[in-house]
Each structure stands twice: as C-alpha cells, then as structure tokens.
C-alpha cells in the first residue's frame, strides 16, 4: 500500500486523518489482520484441546467396505487409511464412468434438440425437462429402487446363456483373468501380451496417421480407421495364440444367493452412475444446444452453400466453434459430477464420503476426517479442471 500511496502527492496537512487514503488503507488492513489472528488463535487452541492429528488413520480398520473393484481388501488387517483409499477409488470409478456417459449422451441429446425432425426434437426436449427439473437425489434413489424391486430375485435370475446374469443383486458378466495357457506358462505372460498389444496399438496409430495423410493429399478415401482396427485386431489375435492364450474368460456363476467369479456390477454402483448420468447429461445437452445456437446463422448457411453435408457441417464448421463456448460450462458440470457423487451415501455405495463417515464413527476425529474429505474432493476437482483447461487451451488457441 505504501507503494501505491507513494505515487500520489500527499494531501495538505489540514485534511483530517480519517479522510486520508493512506490512513484508511492502513486501518482496514489492520482490522483484517486482527480478525484473522483471533480466528487462527481460536482454531489453534481448539485443536490443541482435541489432540488434532492423523495417527488414527494408521490403526486397523476392522470394518468391511463393499463395491470393491479390481481390489480385494477385507478390512481386518488393513489400516483405516487403506479403507479410505478404497472408498476414493470407488468414487473415482463412478465419477469417471458418469463423466464419459453424460458427455456422450449430452452431446447427442443437445444436437437432437436442434434436429429438424419434430419428433426427435420433442423427445430430446422432454428428456431435458424431466431430468433437469427433478432432484438428483430422487433420481439416484429411484433408479436404485427400480433395480432392487424391479429386477428379478437371484433365485429367478435372468440368465443369458450362462454368461450374463441380471438380478436385484446386480449384473454379472464374464471377465478376463490371467491364465497359464496351453504351455503352462507363468502368469506374468499376460503382461508380455499386454506389452505386445501396446506395440500393435502404436503401430495401428501410425498406420492410421499415414493413411489419413494420404487421404488428405490424394483426396481419395484410404479407410484409415478400418485399416488401423484391422491391424490391431489381427495383431492381438495372432500374439494371443502365439503366447499360448495367456488370458481366459472367467464366467460368472451363482452359488446359493451370491454371484461368484466373473465381474459384478452392483445395483448401488449402477444407480449412482445412472442418476449422475441422467441428471448431468440434461445440463450438458442444454450447454451443447446453447453453444451451437450462439453461432451466427450465417455459419450453417455458408457451410450449406459450399455444399458440405449435414454431418460435415456439424463436425467441420459448427462444433469446432461451439466448443469454445461449451468446454468451460461443461467443466463445471464435470465438477458437479465429482461433488454430487457423494450422494452415494443414499444408496449405500461405499464411496469416499461413506467410508470416511464409518471411520469417523469408529475413531472420532470428525475435524480431521472432514479435512481429509474436503481435500480429497478438491484434489479430484483440480485434476478435472487441469485436464479440461488443457482442452480449452487447445480449442481457443486460435483467436476468432
């Protein structure tokens, strides 16, 4: 402030002290510093009374966490921190799937709302109005109820060829597991295969780029995607058998009233992801529609006059420009998905918030747990923002 005040000449000495800008600045800052000191002092003494610390997180958990995926933690010997991280992983999984699904669905419905086909446009509008105007909590619980009550009991499971089951305990599908294959190779052979797959993926990407360039240079179709896919598929198959089939499919089975083996998508996960997707896709649809409608009508007309097809018009002219409007708003929706995922609480999906609550019930330390919860959500949000800012920078690189 001294620097800023220094630029102007000092007022004549007959101006009362309270009317001097420099004095006022000093005064307000003094008040601010005093309040802050009081608050920090209060927090410090309170924390001291409560024995603030995170040591309790290292103690054994002694509770179970459901809805695990690709991890298998029983909670007997594991620390509370481990269980919390299992919850974080569950949250991340739901958030990532919901972001992917709501983006695809949102863009489709947003474009559909602008369709010249009356029925398509009206259906899209109905979708948006229903899911945008009802609470997310209601949607999540409704989907969960439908899955629990509407789906058959596991005794009358809906069975497709003994490899796909649907019941109110969730959906079970086959899942790949490492296998010794026909030579009895060690299990790590599966990683050799994965490495080979990555090589083929890189090669396919290369072929795709080459063919796209050829298509651009000659104007003739060179089927870049088909060639790349074919190369990858052939490479995957050949290397699979050459390595002696290092992976086998684990078929789901029902023993008593439980699924075993295979991969189970539990109703809690489905309900949470479905709720988040339905709700958020309605907002994303509106953002996409707004982004497209904000463009001058002349852009579509010029694209038409040049002779572009409807699909070319959308992908070459409209969406590249609309993305500048769309990405910042869609980023907000992704952040909402992250925060709203805490509604897992309502359907007993063991996300980070629910696990944190269990820990807190057992160990106390509410202040520390809420600190951990808030920091975790913020970290996930920052990660989402960073990725989206990267995309935004790419889209807005050209000033228009």
């Amino acid at each position: 402030m001294a620097v800023a005040a220094g630029s102007a000449p000092p007022p004549p000495s007959n101006v009362p002290l309270l009317y001097r800008r420099g004095v006022r600045r000093l005064l307000t800052q003094g008040i601010y510093v005093a309040i802050t000191a009081v608050v920090i002092g209060y927090i410090y003494t309170s924390l001291d009374l409560r024995e603030f610390g995170f040591g309790f997180l290292d103690e054994p958990a002694a509770f179970k966490v459901g809805n695990q995926w690709l991890v298998d933690v029983d909670g007997v010997t594991n620390s509370r921190l481990t269980m919390y991280l299992v919850g974080v992983w569950s949250s991340l999984r739901a958030v990532m799937v919901a972001i992917a699904l709501s983006t695809v669905l949102g863009v489709l419905i947003g474009v559909a709302r602008l369709s010249s086909n009356w029925l398509v446009a009206q259906m899209a509008m109905l979708y948006v109005e229903i899911f945008r105007n009802t609470p997310l909590l209601v949607q999540v619980v409704l989907v969960y109820t439908v899955l629990l009550v509407g789906a058959p009991l596991i005794e009358n499971v809906f069975n497709v060829g003994d490899f796909f089951f649907v019941s109110n305990r969730g959906m079970a599908i086959p899942w790949p597991v490492p296998d010794s294959g026909f030579w009895g190779a060690p299990e790590w052979f599966v990683w050799v295969w994965v490495a080979v797959l990555l090589l083929f993926a890189a090669a396919a990407q290369r072929v795709r780029a080459n063919r796209q360039e050829l298509e651009r240079d000659t104007g003739q179709p060179h089927y870049a995607n088909r060639w790349a896919l074919a190369l990858f598929a052939v490479g995957a198959l050949v290397s699979f058998f050459a390595l002696g089939a290092p992976v086998s499919m684990d078929l789901p089975m029902i023993v008593g009233t439980h699924y075993i083996e295979g991969m189970v998508m539990e109703p809690e996960f489905t309900a949470l992801v479905a709720g988040l997707t339905l709700y958020t896709s309605a907002f994303i649809a509106e953002i996409v529609r707004g982004g497209i409608q904000a463009l001058p009508k002349g852009q579509s007309e010029a694209a038409n006059a040049v002779g572009l097809s409807g699909y070319q018009r959308l992908t070459l002219v409209i969406l590249p420009q609309a993305l500048r409007q769309i990405i910042p708003s869609v980023t907000n929706q992704y952040l909402n998905i992250n925060k709203n995922s805490s509604l897992a609480y309502a359907v007993l999906y063991d996300d980070l918030f629910r696990v944190a609550n269990i820990v807190q019930n057992k160990a106390g330390h509410a202040l520390e747990m809420f600190f951990v919860i808030i920091v975790t959500y913020m970290l996930i949000s920052f990660a989402i923002s960073m990725v989206m800012n990267f995309f935004n920078a790419r889209v807005t690189a050209q000033r228009i």
């Binding site: 006059a305 002779g307 070319q312 420009q321």
Partner: protein, 261 residues
C-alpha cells in the same frame, strides 16, 4: 405481377443472345408464416448473364436468390438450375449447390480456419480434391482476388474488404457456373467497397453467370446486362441499365430510383 407492362430484356451482348436459360423459375411462391415474401415469380436467367436485383428492404430480393440454392425452400412453383430441378431429391440439391456459389452480406467466413483452409474446405471435403491440388487452386484464386499474401492469416486478421474477397474465392473454389451475391458490399466501409466491386467486375468479364442483389448503382449501370426491380414480392419492372436509369416506366420504380440516386 405486372408482366404485361414489363419491357422484355433485350440481350446486350452477343454471347447472351445466343445462350440458353441456365436458371428457370416459374410461378415461385414463398411464405414466411402469414407474410408472402415471393408472389408468383417467373424469372429466367441466361448463361453468362449479369442480373442486378434492386428493391427496397423486405421486397423479396434476397429471398429470391436464397431460394436458388435452397437456403430457403420455396413453397410453390418450379425452380430449375442448369437442367436440374430443385425438389426433395437430395442428389439434386447437392448437384445444384455445387453449381451455385454464394457470397453473403456478412461474409460468413469460417473464423476457426485459415484463409487457405476456408477456401480448400469445400473442394477437399465435397469434391475430394487432393490437398496439393486444392492448395494450388486456392493460391490461384487468392491471386485472382488480389490477396495472395493473406493465405495463412485468419479471417479476424483481415479487413472487411479482404474478408469479402476471400469469401468470393471460397465460392469460386467449388468451380460454380452461377454466382449469387447477396448485398456483398452493404457491410463494408466505403473505402473497401471498390476493391470488392473490382473483383466482381473481373468475374463478370470472365463469363460467369451472376445474380447480384446490391444498392451499388454505379456497378449496376456499368456491369449489368439486366436490372430487375422487386417490390412486395413481385417483379415490378426489368430491363437494360439504359432503360432503367433513363426511361423507367413504373411509378414505383421511379420513386425508388429517385430516393436511391
């Protein structure tokens, strides 16, 4: 429509006198809700002919040329472009759009693409022209409109007149037989109008069939083979520039010309 009082258009140039009609419109109607924008228009244009369309705002002149490449759909009547009828057949529509180029009042360049890509987008994506050929064509067209040095800039970096010249090059890149101009100089600063009109004049001399909606009377007088005056969705009067400026027949035409000249 006052066709009986309209003077038939005498073809001023030899090549037009012998040419066939490339645009045929018969009894075309266009409605916007309750408002009739075009009322029973029958207007033919010969190959290589330069037609300038005049009229007050709301007279239907823009709507008329926008119907010629289906930016607006006509409600009744018949439109035939170079022997292809404009109907619900998608193949016909695509064929017509590749024969008809259009230049807009607001340029409507694609702001996210460079000048080069603005011009080559259509040839590459619609005509599947190799990139090298498309680039060569674009360079040649930019030279023709007088701004070869702007190829790598973006539309926002150009002046209005330069943008409109790029828009003309973009339309020409599809190698159309017919060019439609919808008030191409109305959004320009006065000192930039001439550079665009010069390009259009050069285009006219090269034998392009052109329909130009404009208020540039100098251009109309100098370049047009025929002037057509629209009012309230009708063709009120048409004729050579000489007929129009020296001896207009209709009261409505006289009134309009007295206000604009």
């Amino acid at each position: 429509m006052s066709s009986e009082t309209t003077t038939p258009a005498p073809a001023v140039r030899e090549e037009i006198a012998q040419a066939d009609d490339i645009i045929i419109t018969e009894n075309v109607d266009k409605w916007f809700g309750d408002f009739q924008a075009l009322d029973d228009i029958s207007l033919n244009v010969r190959e290589h002919e330069i037609v300038v369309v005049l009229g007050p705002s709301g007279s239907g002149k823009s709507t008329f040329i926008r119907c010629l490449n289906r930016l607006e759909e006509h409600d009744a009547g018949k439109i035939v472009i170079d022997g292809i009828e404009m109907n619900d057949d998608v193949r016909n529509l695509n064929a017509i759009r590749s024969e008809v180029g259009m230049v807009f009042q607001q340029f409507n360049l694609f702001p996210h693409l460079s000048v080069m890509n603005n011009i080559t987008l259509g040839p590459r994506k619609v005509r599947r022209m190799p990139k090298l050929d498309a680039d060569a064509l674009a360079t040649q067209l930019l030279e023709r409109v007088g701004i070869p040095e702007q190829a790598d800039k973006y539309p926002a970096q150009l002046s209005g007149g330069q943008q409109q010249r790029v828009a003309i090059a973009r339309a020409l890149a599809m190698q159309p037989k017919i060019m439609l101009f919808d008030e191409p100089t109305s959004a320009l600063d006065p000192e930039m109008i001439k550079e665009v009109l010069d390009v259009m004049q050069e285009l006219a001399r090269s034998g392009m069939t052109m329909i130009v909606v404009t208020h540039e009377m100098g251009f109309a007088r100098e370049v047009a083979d025929r002037l057509v005056f629209f009012d309230e969705g009708n063709v009120v009067e048409q004729g050579t520039p000489q007929h129009f400026f020296e001896n207009p027949q209709e009261e409505r035409t006289k009134l309009f010309l007295s206000q604009i000249l």
